[in-house]
């Protein structure tokens, strides 16, 4: 079927190398998004009007714009408006961090607001200050319920990193295209096979993560139901 090129030369190593770039961008974005998202979520629950307006604007802007537009804004916009020339990879990490922070921030906000009032009352009765209550009672519970959506966000970021090739990052899809171009004349089926393999590579990364998220979610709701019954 003309797929021999996949096993010749360094094709597989190159694809895995590309996948490494993909994973590097995703992991850095997630690593920056988690702390920033928590900070944003906490600030969101403060009753400060100005802060609220700014954060809502930020959240809705990120929600409305396609991720590709965010990438373009960071990659091209930063060079012309503030004169900093980011490499494609750095621009990608910044764009995905902006996105991840907004999404996680909203999740943290929702989780904090969903904490039952009794939790606050019980903590105050026990003599904890507001700050202590927040730090030791509310936040840990909110963060635990955030783990499944957080894992989901990682899969979404991994999938979206494929867009980075459109701003010139040599990640796994771009490497795939190079392999296709290299084998174009000898192996006419190269495009078919390479894109199938690319799909498979992404699937191999994202599917276990999706399953994990689903499992964590089921586990969480089981535990919650258990707690409510007792």
């Amino acid at each position: 079927m003309g797929a021999e090129f996949l096993f010749q030369g360094a094709t597989i190593e190159r694809l895995l190398g590309g996948l490494l770039v993909t994973m590097r961008i995703s992991l850095f974005s997630v690593a920056f998004s988690i702390p920033l998202g928590i900070v944003m979520g906490v600030l969101f629950t403060r009753k400060n009007r100005v802060l609220h307006v700014i954060l809502s604007f930020y959240l809705n802007f990120i929600r409305v714009m396609p991720q590709l537009v965010l990438l373009f804004l960071v990659f091209f916009g930063s060079a012309t408006s503030i004169g900093i020339n980011f490499s494609g990879e750095v621009a990608s990490v910044i764009a995905f961090t902006l996105w991840g922070t907004a999404e996680l921030g909203d999740l943290v906000r929702a989780a904090i607001e969903a904490t039952p009032r009794q939790q606050y009352w019980s903590a105050y009765v026990l003599g904890l200050s507001r700050r202590q209550t927040f730090r030791h009672v509310i936040l840990p519970q909110a963060l635990r319920s955030m783990i499944p959506p957080c894992v989901n966000l990682i899969t979404r970021i991994v999938k979206t990193t494929s867009l980075c090739m459109l701003i010139g990052v040599v990640e796994v899809v771009r490497v795939g295209q190079q392999i296709i171009d290299f084998n174009r004349f000898e192996y006419p089926y190269a495009a078919l096979w390479t894109y199938a393999v690319l799909g498979l590579l992404y699937f191999a990364v994202c599917w276990p993560l999706s399953r994990l998220a689903r499992w964590l979610e089921a586990n969480n709701s089981l535990r919650r139901r258990h707690r409510e019954r007792h």
Partner: protein, 216 residues
């Protein structure tokens, strides 16, 4: 920012917005059909088809839309399946959105109380009739908020079709940046046009969600 230039580029963006809207609309209609079909197959537990639908949903949700698009556009012609750019883009969005719509419909269908199924059966309706006249109308209402969210998602995802040189908003912006170096103007118009398209849909989503949660 040069406002004269911004004005001169507006017609290009209007034309591009039509491409974005056309592709998104086609993709959304296809996604709704695929999603509904998959959800019913899963609800009725049709053997074989149920497993196929399950596999389709996993594949569609765990691979990037760009790779799906490239496979359709660059890969399939090798097997003799030649599709136009527009057809590829619409099929790709339908393939991607179908699984998300399927989940939305499935959740809504499963939320319909068993008594509705039983009552329909007692009244002598066949399974298909019950689905058409009783279950779906109830489920549709329930599914609307997540369907609107998916619509927003699909319009946003339509930006990837610029990867196969379809002249949508993204492509025109990239063109202006690459040819004329009018980066700020192009990015400004890009953001404005996506906002014009998507903000009404988002507002509709908020409205629908509020209305349906209050009505219950």
């Amino acid at each position: 920012m040069n406002w004269g230039l911004v004005g001169s580029y507006v017609p290009f963006f209007v034309a591009a917005a039509q491409v974005t809207l056309y592709i998104s609309f086609g993709g959304i209609v296809l996604a709704l059909l695929v999603g509904l079909l998959c959800a019913v197959v899963r609800l009725w537990k049709v053997p074989v088809l149920e497993q196929l639908v399950g596999a389709y949903i996993e594949i569609s949700r765990n691979t990037p839309s760009l790779v799906q698009l490239f496979f359709l556009y660059f890969g399939l012609p090798k097997l003799g399946i030649l599709l136009s750019q527009e057809a590829c883009a619409i099929i790709c969005l339908g393939f991607l959105g179908g699984s998300y719509m399927a989940e939305a419909f499935r959740a809504a269908l499963e939320a319909v109380p068993a008594v509705q199924h039983e009552s329909a059966q007692v009244l002598g309706l066949t399974r298909a009739q019950a689905m058409r006249h009783v279950i779906l109308p109830i489920a549709m209402k329930q599914a609307t908020p997540s369907v609107v969210a998916n619509v927003v998602f699909l319009v946003k995802e339509s930006s990837v079709v610029s990867g196969i040189a379809l002249a949508d908003l993204m492509y025109v912006a990239k063109d202006i940046i690459g040819n004329n170096y009018d980066t700020l103007e192009a990015l400004f118009l890009l953001v404005v046009f996506y906002a014009i398209i998507l903000i009404p849909v988002c507002l509709l989503g908020t409205y629908v969600e509020r209305r349906f949660t209050n009505g219950r």
